[in-house]
């Protein structure tokens, strides 16, 4: 079923740690993997926008308070985490598909959930004691 890992010498695809192993999967699966990566990038950009936005809105009326600043930093770190995890996940899944292994999971979803809950708690405190 699986061809031996003999990449063509003209195969210039990068990275070789992905394209130099296993056999070619159905291109449709690779496309789906790439779209999932792009969706994570957009999610990360959304987090970045949210972090910048709450810092700006909070500074309209007052000096930026510590808890709001921390919430903004947390959102931005979540966004950067989405980008890093997005490409790491893409690489691991592409490798898994080429080797015929099950796809990997990532702890990022749990981390993001905790991050969003913490930011929501800050928002609740800020709104309640405004």
């Amino acid at each position: 079923m699986s061809d031996p890992p003999t990449p063509s010498p003209r195969d210039r695809r990068w990275p070789r740690s992905v394209y130099g192993i296993g056999s070619e999967p159905d291109p449709r699966f690779s496309f789906a993997n790439e779209r999932t990566f792009l969706a994570w990038i957009r999610t990360g950009l959304g987090f970045l926008a949210a972090g910048v936005a709450i810092a700006t809105v909070a500074s309209f009326t007052d000096q930026l308070r510590l808890e709001v600043r921390l919430a903004a930093i947390l959102l931005i770190l979540c966004g950067m985490g989405c980008a890093v995890d997005g490409i790491t996940r893409w690489i691991r899944n592409e490798r898994a598909m080429r080797l015929g292994e099950p796809l990997h999971s990532s702890p990022l979803i749990l981390v993001l959930t905790i991050g969003v809950v913490l930011v929501a708690l800050v928002a609740f405190v800020v709104v309640s004691y405004a």
């Binding site: 990068w14 496309f31 930093i73």
Partner: protein, 106 residues
């Protein structure tokens, strides 16, 4: 141009995913530029111009990538490459660093 490779339009859908990702990137970059304007107008203009030009270049690269993949599929050559995903990841991280600096300085 050859017809779509498959009835599921995988390459076309992936091309559109690149487009909306680049538009999201342009949106957040212009947002950051607008907010940075309260700190420095020159810096805001620089960020805005870089965002527009960067999106234009990346959009052009995305079109080239779509066409190369389209040709490779019809020629039954293998597809895929991680250089463009790596570039997008690096740009997102750079935007994140800019956002962090903004929040820390604000």
């Amino acid at each position: 141009m050859l017809p779509p490779w498959d009835p599921g339009l995988q390459n076309e859908r992936t091309g559109l995913a690149w487009q909306r990702t680049l538009l999201s990137g342009l949106g957040i970059s212009l947002l950051v530029a607008r907010f940075v304007a309260s700190l420095s107008l020159a810096l805001a203009i620089a960020v805005g111009v870089a965002a527009v030009l960067g999106t234009a270049v990346l959009g052009w690269l995305a079109i080239l990538r779509f066409r190369a993949t389209h040709d490779a599929l019809h020629a039954e050559r293998p597809v895929g490459d991680a250089r463009a995903p790596l570039l997008i990841t690096v740009l997102t991280l750079m935007t994140g660093i800019g956002a962090l600096l903004y929040v820390l300085v604000e």
